[in-house]
């Protein structure tokens, strides 16, 4: 198998970057939605909400780029994975609708704030579970026949996909908790720190369980991870994960405010590299590679020309927007 730097590979890395950006950025604001029921009504919830209100829309745009980019660069993969996970995609977008409108509606209608807070929370939980289960569904393989999905409506539903769903729930909540440590003060920060501890444990347990279960799926994952000499490289991933998680708990104990979030990001990055080792160059494991599903060069080049100029620009002004809203969040909205 050739790993030369061709167009499809470049696009696979660009999309992987978009998906990673989505996972960590929407991850922390979805995580706040997951933690929301545990926050006290009033200042705690308002402060948590305000810490993400200016940025959530931008965070979610990476999801649209992930979807749109997949359709553009690997149309066949898009045309197979989405029908295969149909109920999950629908559940995800409906969850995102409820939580997205709650940002405005909860301020607009104090009489029904409890309802919109619940919508925010349930929407976040449903969207996260759906994404996690989708990950499991792709990892465990999809039934493809010719150029189409050939399975049933509920093929994705397995113990393994439930495990990935629950693991992602814990991980997003961890991102949310460690984000809040940096963006809040007082009782909310205390609470976020406590949750970060528990969720750190849960997330690592989830990562370990998924890592152990993956090589037992009837796919060549075992080969990818444990064959010599590759294992000398792949073994670094779990080892680094151990080191980063040690640092993470240390930073919590030392009462650090920003470090826990940065270390959680690193943890996600390592998990992502692990997924890359399991999947690359397949988009649908054992069935379709990035080259099988790639759009013609004319399409990929056209997008690449724009992307290399625009993506750095996007990263710059997004960073600026985060910079404008740096520091602790307020307890009141602009309303």
């Amino acid at each position: 198998m050739s790993y030369s730097l061709d167009l499809a590979t470049v696009w696979a890395f660009i999309l992987a970057f978009a998906i990673f950006a989505y996972v960590v950025m929407d991850g922390f604001d979805l995580g706040i939605g997951i933690l929301f029921p545990t926050l006290e009504v009033g200042d705690e919830r308002d402060q948590a909400m305000n810490s993400i209100a200016p940025v959530w829309d931008g965070n979610e745009t990476w999801l649209v780029l992930g979807g749109g980019g997949l359709m553009a660069a690997f149309p066949l993969a898009y045309a197979i994975i989405l029908p295969a996970t149909y109920p999950l995609v629908i559940a995800m977008v409906l969850g995102l609708i409820f939580r997205g409108v709650a940002f405005e509606f909860r301020w607009r209608d104090p009489g029904h704030r409890a309802f919109w807070d619940l919508a925010f929370s349930l929407g976040s939980i449903v969207a996260t579970l759906a994404q996690g289960i989708m990950l499991g569904a792709v990892l465990q393989g999809i039934h493809v026949d010719g150029r189409a999905y050939a399975g049933g409506t509920l093929d994705w539903l397995t113990p393994f996909s439930m495990l990935t769903g629950l693991s992602l729930l814990a991980s997003y909540a961890l991102l949310g908790a460690s984000w809040l440590i940096g963006k809040s003060h007082g009782s909310l920060q205390e609470r976020a720190r406590k949750w970060a501890f528990r969720l750190g444990v849960l997330t690592l347990a989830g990562m370990a369980a998924v890592s152990i279960a993956t090589p037992f799926l009837a796919i060549d994952y075992w080969q990818r991870w444990f064959r010599m000499p590759g294992v000398l490289f792949t073994a670094q991933v779990p080892l680094a994960t151990l080191v980063v998680s040690g640092l993470f708990f240390w930073s919590l104990r030392r009462g650090r405010e920003r470090l826990p979030f940065l270390l959680t990001l690193l943890l996600f990055a390592l998990g992502f590299v692990g997924l890359g080792i399991s999947m690359f160059p397949y988009v649908v494991p054992q069935a379709l590679t990035i080259w099988d599903t790639a759009a013609p060069a004319g399409s990929q080049i056209f997008m690449l020309v724009g992307t290399v100029f625009i993506l750095p620009l996007i990263i710059n002004y997004t960073a600026w927007a985060y910079y404008v809203f740096r520091g602790k969040a307020a307890t009141e909205g602009y309303h």
């Binding site: 200016p54 829309d57 149309p75 197979i80 989405l82 409506t153 056209f302 009141e332």
Partner: protein, 463 residues
């Protein structure tokens, strides 16, 4: 995979895209309106502009949020329900939509936070820049998505490869600038400006009917009616040009719009009203003006015009839907022109702020832009049937291999959720609009500048 799943998938797409289209058609215009208001405030320093800016910003925030979440549904629905279309047309429409995300969605989302929450954090000029970027983003977004849709209507610049995919034949310019794109873009953007003007005008009129001295209500009514008076006649002109373009590239759609079941070798009549009878293939109770259709479409009263009798039945769009929605759109367009002229009379006679009849009419016309936009959209989309990519890919061969029960469940869920969520949202919008613009709101720059991020900034004054 039967016909049921196909019909359900089409219903679901029609339902979700119609709902989605409502919000951008309002927020494209409103973003530009906000840009003008803030620009005028920076230039003149007059408080009325700052007040109006804050007033409409709150409304914009609610409408924009609903547009974002209903848009995410669309970006995944191509894959979930139209996977064959996505596989085949993905190499062409995919990059166009990816460019929309890269050049428009990120721009809007990146600067929206600063626009909504950042007025005390970045200073007025930078804040105005953020507003401009959001407005620019909405316009760029419209450009790409209309280019995509237009390519599906009038596909050019492509080849078909061994896998049956539409692929770029060479340059992307003929794909982006396909024959119907410039007309459709102008028509849609003007429609968005008109829709917004009609809403702003209705809100102004509503408050003028209660207090004709309210400076905010006067200013917004005057600006909105000015825009209607300018944009409505231009829109009618552009719509006519768009129609001629459609006649050239999609003549069957025009036949359905006009209700021409029969060919007219010696000049076709313009059917004003009538009831299409698809079974008998005729228009019952037709009220028609002889030869006018040929005169409008061909600029020659005796020019021959083909009818649906020359088209195989299976390639006909559903005539009744196209016929009716087209008349609704045109009728409302004429009513908008009438309102614009009426407001000009009011302006000349110095009664713009004190003519209750004008204000009542403006209130009644408030939602007309939305109705016209949806009707026009249905005309062009249903008129494209039975194809997804006009002339090349049938709708019946574009959909995903899903079970009907799965699509039925998702459709039902969408209907329930949309009515709860967007019903509530519309209620909140109306409640915000029912509040009169407050005359003494503090101005953004009058609020003391705080050290960014350290103390809570109240940003916009509460009202």
């Amino acid at each position: 995979m039967g016909d049921e799943a196909l019909i359900l998938a089409r219903l679901q797409f029609a339902f979700t895209v119609s709902f989605h289209f409502i919000f951008p058609s309002f927020s494209i215009g409103l973003a530009s309106f906000l840009m003008v208001l803030e620009g005028l405030w920076l230039k003149t320093g007059r408080g009325v502009y700052a007040n109006l800016y804050r007033y409409w910003l709150k409304i914009f925030a609610v409408a924009f949020g609903m547009g974002v979440v209903s848009g995410i549904v669309m970006s995944y629905q191509f894959g979930t329900n139209w996977s064959v279309f996505s596989d085949k047309a993905g190499p062409i429409v995919g990059p166009l939509m990816a460019y929309e995300v890269l050049t428009a969605f990120f721009l809007e989302a990146g600067f929206l936070g600063v626009m909504l929450f950042g007025i005390n954090k970045v200073g007025p000029r930078l804040h105005f820049f953020a507003t401009c970027m959001v407005a620019l983003g909405t316009f760029i977004s419209a450009t790409w998505i209309i280019s995509t849709n237009s390519w599906m209507q009038t596909p050019t610049g492509f080849a078909i490869n061994a896998q049956g995919q539409f692929v770029p034949a060479g340059s992307w310019l003929p794909i982006i600038f396909n024959p119907s794109f410039p007309y459709r873009l102008a028509h849609v953007v003007l429609a968005a400006y008109l829709t917004t003007s009609l809403v702003v005008g209705a809100v102004g009129a509503w408050h003028l009917l209660r207090d004709r001295t309210n400076p905010g209500a006067r200013k917004m009514f005057s600006m909105a009616m000015g825009m209607v008076a300018i944009a409505a006649p231009i829109q009618i002109f552009v719509g006519d040009a768009h129609g001629l373009n459609t006649l050239e590239h999609q003549p069957v759609k025009i036949m359905a719009m006009e209700g021409h079941y029969e060919s007219h070798p010696h000049g076709a009549p313009l059917i004003l009203f009538g009831i299409p009878d698809p079974a008998a293939k005729r228009i019952d109770y037709a009220l028609e003006i002889p030869k006018l259709s040929s005169l409008i479409l061909k600029h020659d009263a005796d020019a021959p015009l083909g009818g649906l009798d020359a088209v195989p039945d299976e390639l006909e769009p559903p005539v009744a839907v196209v016929f009716w929605t087209f008349r609704i759109m045109v009728g409302l367009g004429m009513a908008m022109l009438g309102l614009g002229l009426f407001s000009l009379v009011g302006r000349v006679k110095g009664r713009l702020y004190s003519w209750p009849l004008l204000h009542r009419l403006a209130v009644a016309m408030g939602p007309s832009g939305f109705v016209a936009v949806i009707a026009g959209w249905v005309t062009t989309e249903v008129g494209r049937q039975p194809y997804t990519v006009y002339g090349y890919l049938l709708t019946a061969k574009s959909h995903s291999p899903l079970e009907a029960s799965a699509v039925a469940t998702s459709l039902l869920t969408f209907v329930i959720v949309y009515f709860i969520v967007f019903g509530s949202g519309t209620y909140y919008l109306l409640r915000l609009m029912a509040k009169a613009p407050a005359p003494h709101e503090t101005e953004p720059a009058a609020t003391p500048q705080r050290a960014a991020g350290i103390t809570p900034a109240p940003a916009f004054a509460k009202d």
